[in-house]
C-alpha cells in the first residue's frame, strides 16, 4: 500500500470528489493565486478551472455564508478557512445557520457543506495558535471530525463531502507531513465511529487529531518500559462514539485523555465526564487529562514548548495515573 502524507491523503480525497461531482467546489482564502496556504489544494485551479476553486475575500462570515446558501440550494461547497483562528469570525454562520437550518425549518432545508480548518502553532503567539474543537463539538446539528492519521484523513474527508449535513473538518498544521499507508482506491471512514488503534491492559489513552501521533509514540515508549497502554482514536467528536473507549476502559480501569486544547471545559472534559458516569464501576484511579497549559499561547520558543502537550506529556500522565495520583488543573 502506498505511504503518503496526511496532506496528500486530504488532497486525494478532495481531488476525487472534485472529479466525480461537479457540484463540489472549493472556496477559501488564498486557495488560487497564492496556491493554497498549506498546499493541500495546490494546482487545483489548473486541474479543475477557476469556477471550481475560488479565492475569497478575507471575510470569513461572508464566504461561510456564501457556502451555506449554495449548499442549501443543492451544491456541495468545501469552505477552506485558512485556520481555526480565523474561522471564529464565521461562528455565527456555522452555529446559528448551518447547524440549525434543517431543524428549525422542520426539515425543509439541508446544508451539505464541509468547513476545513487547521489547528496548529509554531511561534505564532496568542491569536494564531488556538483550538476551538469544543465550540463545534458543543453544537447539536454539526458533525465534527478530527482525523489523526493519513488513512482517516482521506476516508473522513470523502465521508464529510458525501454527508448531507454540515461537517466541521479540523486538520492540524503540525501533522500535514506525517506519513502513513493510504489505499489509492476510493473509500470512506464512517463519521461518528471511534477506532481502537492499539489494545492494551494497563491504561486506556483517548485522543484525536494532532495528539494521535504523539500518543502512538507514547504507547511505544511505554511498551518498552513494560506498560501496556491501549489507544483509542475518537476521530469524530460530535457525534461522540464512546463505546470503544468504554470497552477498553472496562479492561484497563484507568484512563488518560490527550487533547490539544485548553483542558478546562474542553472536549476532554466531556470524555472524562462520560468515563466517570458511564464507566464509574470500572474506575480504579483518577483520570488524567493532557492539553495546553491554560495560558494564551506565548511567542518565545521555550515558553511555547513548555505549554503545549507532546508524547512526553502523555507518558507522564500515564505514569501519574498508574501511581494513583490526583490531577490539579491550573488556571492561573
Amino acid at each position: 500500500m502506498p505511504v503518503i502524507t496526511y496532506s496528500e491523503a486530504l488532497r486525494q480525497a478532495l481531488r476525487e470528489a472534485m472529479t466525480n461531482d461537479p457540484r463540489v467546489f472549493i472556496i477559501g482564502e488564498d486557495v488560487v493565486h497564492y496556491d493554497s496556504a498549506y498546499g493541500v489544494t495546490k494546482g487545483f485551479e489548473k486541474e479543475f478551472g477557476p469556477e471550481r476553486i475560488k479565492d475569497m475575500p478575507i471575510a470569513e462570515a461572508g464566504y461561510a455564508g456564501l457556502g451555506i446558501g449554495a449548499a442549501m440550494n443543492g451544491l456541495r461547497p468545501i469552505v477552506e478557512m485558512m485556520t481555526t483562528n480565523f474561522a471564529i469570525l464565521a461562528l455565527d454562520m456555522i452555529i446559528n445557520h448551518a447547524a440549525k437550518l434543517h431543524y428549525m425549518f422542520g426539515g425543509q432545508f439541508t446544508c451539505p457543506i464541509v468547513f476545513r480548518m487547521p489547528n496548529g502553532y509554531g511561534q505564532l503567539s496568542a491569536t494564531h495558535s488556538q483550538a476551538f474543537d469544543n465550540y463545534y463539538a458543543y453544537m447539536p446539528g454539526l458533525k465534527v471530525v478530527v482525523p489523526g492519521t493519513p488513512y482517516d484523513a482521506k476516508g473522513l474527508m470523502k465521508a464529510a463531502i458525501e454527508d448531507p449535513d454540515p461537517v466541521i473538518f479540523i486538520e492540524h498544521t503540525g501533522i500535514y507531513n506525517i506519513k502513513g499507508e493510504v489505499p489509492e482506491e476510493s473509500y470512506t471512514v464512517p463519521i461518528g465511529k471511534s477506532n481502537l488503534l492499539r489494545d492494551g491492559k494497563d491504561v486506556t489513552i483517548v485522543g484525536y487529531g494532532r495528539m494521535i501521533p504523539y500518543c502512538q509514540q507514547a504507547v511505544e515508549t511505554l511498551a518498552s518500559e513494560g506498560i501496556d497502554a491501549a489507544l483509542v482514536d475518537l476521530r469524530t467528536i460530535r457525534p461522540l462514539d464512546m463505546e470503544p473507549v468504554l470497552e477498553s476502559f472496562r479492561k484497563t480501569n484507568r484512563a488518560v485523555i490527550a487533547t490539544e486544547e485548553w483542558t478546562s471545559v474542553g472536549v476532554g472534559s466531556e470524555i472524562a465526564a462520560r468515563l466517570y458516569t458511564e464507566g464509574f464501576d470500572h474506575l480504579d484511579a483518577p483520570i488524567w487529562r493532557v492539553g495546553f497549559d491554560e495560558v494564551p499561547m506565548p511567542y518565545a520558543k521555550n515558553l511555547e514548548a513548555h505549554v503545549v502537550p507532546n508524547a512526553d506529556s502523555v507518558i507522564q500522565a500515564v505514569k501519574n495515573v498508574l501511581a494513583g495520583k490526583t490531577q490539579k488543573i491550573r488556571q492561573q
Partner: protein, 325 residues
C-alpha cells in the same frame, strides 16, 4: 411587464393586516409564545416587491416575516399553526414566528440574527449562477430578493454581502425596509448614513422608494429584479413605518402615541384604498365586504391552528440531521 392588479394587492395587504391583528389577539391570549414581530404598516413593501418575483425566483427574509410569507402565497393556516407551535405548522412547530419557510415556493425562510441572512441570500444567488455557468443548467435564471431592516445595515455582514454580490455580479436584489427604527433605536442614533441606499452605492446601483405606495414599490421592484436578472445586484431602500411595536411585548418607550398617530396618514392600506376609490376600482361597500371575507377566513385559520395537534414529543429528537445517525 404584466399590469399590476391593484385590487388583488389590496386584498393581500388587508389579509396580512388581519393576520397580524389576529396574531396579536392570540398572543394576548397566550396561544402564541416567544417573540412576535408584527408587520403592521409595512404591508405595501412585501406585496409590492414580492409581486415582482416569478415562481423561479427566491426570497430570503428577516424575522418580521409574516407579511413576506403571505405575499409569497404561503397558506395562512400552516403559518398560524406554526405560531401556535403545532405539528401542522410550516416548520412542524419547531421554528415559530421568526422562521417561516416554504421550500416549494423558494421562500427560504425568515432569519433572526440581524444581518446574517444577507450572506445566505448572497450564497443562494451564487449557486444560481454556478448552476447556470458550471453545471450548464440554462433554466437557472432566478433572482434572489433579500429583505432586511435599516438596523441590519451597520454590521459587517451587510458590507460583506453587498461587496461579494457585486464582485461576483450575482442576481440579487437587496431590499432594505427602512422603518426608521432598529428595534427601539432611531435611525439617526444607530447609523451615520441615514439614506441607507447610499451605503450600497459604491457596490451597485440603487434607489430610495416610497414603500408605503404599493404601485411605486411594484414598479421599482420590477426594475430591480430585471436588473438583477440581466446585469447584477440592485439595491432598494423602501421607506416605511412600523405602526406596531418592535414585538408584541414592546412598550414603545422610544416614541409617543402622537408620533405614531402622525404617521397613520402614511398607512399603506388606507392610501391604496383611497386610490382605488378615486379610480372607481373600489367602493366603501366593497372594501367592507373584503374586510368581512378576510375576517371570516382568519377565523377559519385560527380555528385550524387551535385544532391542530401539538408535535409529538419524539419530534424534539427528529431532524437534528437530515440523515438520522
Amino acid at each position: 411587464m404584466e399590469k399590476q392588479d391593484l385590487l388583488a394587492d389590496y386584498r393581500t395587504m388587508v389579509l396580512i393586516r388581519s393576520f397580524e391583528e389576529h396574531c396579536q389577539q392570540q398572543y394576548t391570549r397566550a396561544r402564541i409564545g416567544g417573540f412576535l414581530h408584527l408587520y403592521v404598516g409595512q404591508e405595501a413593501v412585501a406585496v409590492g416587491a414580492i409581486g415582482a418575483l416569478k415562481a423561479q425566483d427566491h426570497l430570503v427574509t428577516h424575522y418580521r416575516d409574516h407579511g413576506h410569507a403571505l405575499a409569497r402565497g404561503l397558506e395562512p393556516k400552516p403559518l398560524m399553526a406554526e405560531l401556535f407551535g403545532r405539528s401542522t405548522g410550516t416548520g412542524k412547530g419547531k421554528g415559530g414566528s421568526m422562521h417561516f419557510a416554504d421550500k416549494n415556493k423558494n421562500f427560504w425562510g425568515g432569519y433572526a440574527i440581524v444581518g446574517a441572512h444577507l450572506l445566505l441570500a448572497m450564497g443562494i444567488a451564487y449557486s444560481i449562477k454556478y448552476k447556470r455557468e458550471v453545471l450548464g443548467q440554462a433554466d437557472q435564471d432566478g433572482v434572489v430578493m433579500c429583505f432586511f431592516g435599516d438596523g441590519a445595515t451597520n454590521g459587517g455582514e451587510f458590507y460583506e454581502a453587498v461587496s461579494m454580490a457585486a464582485l461576483y455580479k450575482l442576481p440579487i436584489v437587496f431590499l432594505c425596509e427602512n422603518n426608521e427604527f432598529a428595534m427601539g433605536t432611531p435611525l439617526s442614533v444607530h447609523t451615520s448614513v441615514t439614506e441607507i441606499h447610499k451605503k450600497a452605492s459604491p457596490f451597485m446601483p440603487g434607489e430610495r422608494v416610497n414603500g408605503n405606495d404599493v404601485e411605486e414599490m411594484r414598479a421599482r421592484a420590477l426594475y430591480a429584479v430585471n436588473h438583477a436578472r440581466t446585469e447584477g445586484p440592485y439595491f432598494l431602500e423602501a421607506m416605511t413605518y412600523r405602526l406596531r411595536g418592535h414585538s408584541a411585548a414592546d412598550p414603545q418607550m422610544y416614541r409617543t402615541r402622537d408620533d405614531i398617530n402622525a404617521r397613520r396618514s402614511g398607512d399603506p392600506i388606507a392610501l391604496l384604498k383611497q386610490k382605488l376609490i378615486d379610480q372607481n376600482l373600489l367602493t366603501e361597500k366593497q372594501a367592507k365586504q373584503i374586510d368581512k371575507e378576510v375576517e371570516k377566513e382568519m377565523d377559519v385559520v385560527v380555528q385550524f391552528a387551535e385544532e391542530s395537534p401539538a408535535p409529538d414529543l419524539s419530534e424534539a429528537w427528529t431532524e437534528i440531521y437530515s440523515k438520522p445517525l
